[in-house]
Symmetry: C2
Subunit: 271 residues, 2 copies
Amino acid sequence: MADRGWPGCAASLKGVILDMCGVLYDSGEGGGVAIPGSIEAVNKLKASDLQLRFCTNETQASREKFVAKLQKLGFDILVSEVFSPAPAAVAVLRERGLRPHLLVYDGLLPEFDSVDKTNPNCVVIGDAAEQFTYQNLNNAFRVLTGLEKPVLFSLGQGKYYKETDGLKLDVGPYMKALEYACDLKAEVVGKPSPTFFQSVLNDMGLQPHEALMIGDDLVNDVGGAQHCGMKGIQVRTGKYRPSDERHSTVTADSTVDNLAQAVDTILNQRL
Amino acid sequence: MADRGWPGCAASLKGVILDMCGVLYDSGEGGGVAIPGSIEAVNKLKASDLQLRFCTNETQASREKFVAKLQKLGFDILVSEVFSPAPAAVAVLRERGLRPHLLVYDGLLPEFDSVDKTNPNCVVIGDAAEQFTYQNLNNAFRVLTGLEKPVLFSLGQGKYYKETDGLKLDVGPYMKALEYACDLKAEVVGKPSPTFFQSVLNDMGLQPHEALMIGDDLVNDVGGAQHCGMKGIQVRTGKYRPSDERHSTVTADSTVDNLAQAVDTILNQRL
């Protein structure tokens, strides 16, 4: 086969996976704002012969509420097209008979309605933002130290994200805090877990080399996808920082200005 | 020389360094409570020919207020005998011309009165406890990401300590959170930093092999002292946990029930 690099690889693609925050929109007060050109880019992908899925580590709201917010911003997105960590975590908890102590944002609680939370034997943390109080983190710590075999699930491991008023700490730093305090290693549910990316590929019925991931997070979006055998493209929006282009361990297959440019380049290869 | 192990080594000792919280007293509401036998043990050491210093990673109050609290509990302790991280940090900031953004407990602020804090070019974190809000941690994160060469000082790296109502997260987990978020390594001021232990030895005019450290924190008290060439004894009070006695990297020279037992054993070797 000839050139499989970017953008040549786009000719043989069968599916595209999009990160959401920082690619489609910037989060912030009042639901955030769409990134210029992204609404149209999603429409173009939907009008093409490519399969399209959305893959987010968003854990501040249930998928229903989250998708409703994106629809309100003008995006043509369905709940069934969106993969997020909370439903994946619920499946793991069920499988292993675990009862979580939850340290998550109030808006995410409905995702765990069906899960037995009495007498917890593990801890699940998500992006709790303002609810990452000292008291709440200490409570999670005490649950873990009280367990003979402490188990910590982290809904993602992002370092920070960008809201309209600046950078905000994500769940990752708090995961590291509990790992250190309790001498354990968290199990990450969500990006960049290979299990999580694989579940999206399974849903599309595609092999990794047939799909491409576009995100603003070099390590979790781009690196995670590449680790699974997909191509990974970084956009210069959202939490992108120029230093990402000289990162020590992850190199994107390409870096593009924004989603609109990525989608136009992909579709041009398929004419 | 014959037996230099415990307790034989006590015969040739010239000085003893005591950790405070978890050795002398358990902290908690209303100033905490003295650990039975510890007040008398301090008196016995003071009546002996051994030099005595106190070495704490306490960063919730100025040394003056902290020592006053211990005196009220019945301990014969002077401010000049106590070594704590904040004054050590102030010295380092001066030396390097750094202006800190402080994320510390309100009670510690007076220690930094003399330090220029305008237009910060580093961050200092201490055990801020309830003041470790999401907002405060995020502010420290934003200062660090805004610096070309981010510098983070952590007043200790303890994982947790014990108060009368249970275990509480110490500064260490929050240090790890910022290290991960900002891709940096903090400079630890306080135990187990060799510089910190050395400053106590210097004050006594002793060589490491002439001094012994007694603490409840296996890694920071015992391991830190051993790393400097001192003997390190762990007490089974404070944050001691049975698993400490089978730790993978640190083995105490001895583990004793409490300070009273340690002091009686030491003084018996010197009759």
